[in-house]
């Protein structure tokens, strides 16, 4: 693993931080413990590392880890669900930040990485590799499939089966209320399994706002917390069909708002409660 790729992980400023920093949205934490209960005996070749934490950064094909002093928490970024789900092989090369530099050959065999859901699912080996128990390499797809099937069944039962078929097929679904001047366009933008497993902190599909005359207004970013993607689509349809789209419009963020200032001005005049959104 090239060292340059490892060093780009930001660690400065956190080394002496005694208290737990706020959690970064979209991350999962892991606990780092030692088998012996003392950390001083763990790394004789690189000195004492007391109360360490581990930061793992998982990219497409690399995992980097840094052990930094004076904390007992860890944070995992860029992961879909937890640090194990993207691992496709038994071992991954890692490096440990010792305070003096990256060390890829440190004796770190006594460190076990625990996850809230999968304790002892993985550990760092003496050779610096990161090994996962095989059964934790991938999440169980059954509950995800079950959630998808249940979602489709519910949506179809409620009479929105056509919409969901179009959505799953990758085409855009237009939803609007007869008395509204807006039209919402929903388009699948992520793998449905992935978006069900981890809906994330931004809309797990593409949501755009148009006028009924097909004039683009903005992309919208709005979520129903911890809800699978299909259920979010159903919820969105219900908000719109029930005539309560204002709840969505007031709550949503508007990335990519149209640059047409005249249109924005007109919308702000006609919808004063949304003026701050169209400003």
């Amino acid at each position: 693993m090239p060292q340059a790729a490892l060093i780009e992980t930001p660690i400065s400023g956190s080394v002496t931080q005694a208290t737990e920093p706020p959690r970064t949205p979209g991350t999962r934490r892991v606990i780092v413990t030692s088998r012996t209960g003392t950390s001083t005996a763990i790394t004789p070749t690189i000195g004492t590392i007391a109360n360490t934490y581990l930061r793992v950064r998982d990219t497409i094909d690399t995992v980097t880890a840094s052990v930094i002093s004076n904390a007992t928490w860890a944070e995992v970024t860029n992961c879909m669900d937890d640090i194990y789900i993207n691992f496709v092989s038994d071992t991954r090369p890692i490096s440990i930040w010792t305070g003096n530099g990256w060390n890829t050959s440190t004796t770190c065999s006594q460190w076990i990485i625990q996850n809230w859901d999968y304790p002892n699912a993985a550990q760092i080996l003496q050779n610096g590799n990161f090994q996962c128990a095989k059964k934790y390499l991938r999440p169980d797809p059954r509950p995800i499939r079950s959630a998808i099937k249940k979602g489709i069944k519910l949506i179809t039962g409620l009479g929105f089966g056509d919409e969901i078929k179009v959505f799953l097929g990758g085409s855009s679904v237009e939803v609007s209320h007869p008395e509204s001047e807006f039209k919402f366009v929903l388009t699948k933008s992520r793998d449905i399994m992935d978006a069900t497993r981890y809906p994330g902190y931004s809309t797990p599909y593409k949501l755009e706002l148009y006028t009924k005359t097909n004039v683009f207004i903005s992309k919208l970013c709005v979520i129903m917390e911890q809800t699978p993607v299909l259920d979010q689509v159903l919820a969105m349809i219900m908000f719109i069909r029930s005539g309560d789209e204002d709840i969505i419009l007031k709550t949503a963020n508007y990335p990519g708002l149209t640059q047409d200032r005249e249109l924005r001005g007109q919308l702000a005049l006609r919808h004063p409660h949304l003026r701050h959104k169209f400003a």
Binding site: P143, S146, A147, I148, K149, K150, G151, L154, G157, L158, G159, F160, Y201, S202, T203, C221, V222, I223, M224, E225, Q226, T227, P228, D231, Q232, L234, A235, M238, F239, R241, S242, G243, D244, I247, I248, T251, A252, N253
Partner: protein, 140 residues
């Protein structure tokens, strides 16, 4: 397996959550407890939509449940371990507690027709109808 094929009209609440969707139903004498839960959920930011087109089949389970048995039977009973597993799989602690305490039971909605949703802010009306609960809406 003892089973009665009978569609039962009952109030129900379908929660859209991380485990897909979970539908519960309840008896009249447990209604106040459910209303209390709905009030708490509303305070948390949940939105409730009512719809009139979901007749329900209430489920008591006794044998290994299959898709076919669920579709045909009203009363099916499962053992305690399986029940506990089902409760644990619910991605909503409050709903799971209501089921575990016997105030509500799992149900599977049988639906047809196009349901026109109505946003309902009165917990009592929610508890008297077939409703769908949506978690808090937030800007992404």
């Amino acid at each position: 397996m003892e089973a009665t094929i009978e569609a039962v009209e009952r109030p129900s609440l379908t929660f859209l959550n991380g485990s897909g969707d979970i539908t519960i139903t309840w008896d009249e004498h447990n209604k106040e407890k459910i209303i209390e839960m709905i009030k708490n959920k509303m305070a948390e930011g949940y939105t409730f939509f009512t719809t009139k087109k979901i007749p329900l089949v209430k489920l008591y389970r006794k044998v290994k449940v299959t898709e076919a048995s669920l579709d045909k039977c009203e009363h099916v009973v499962i053992d305690d371990d399986a029940f506990e597993k089902m409760v644990k799989s619910v991605d909503d602690r409050d709903v799971a507690e209501q089921v575990r305490n016997g105030n509500a039971s799992f149900a599977r909605p049988k639906m047809f027709g196009r349901a026109e949703p109505v946003l309902e802010r009165d917990p009592r009306k929610v508890a008297d109808s077939k409703a769908i609960a949506v978690r808090k809406v937030a800007g992404g």
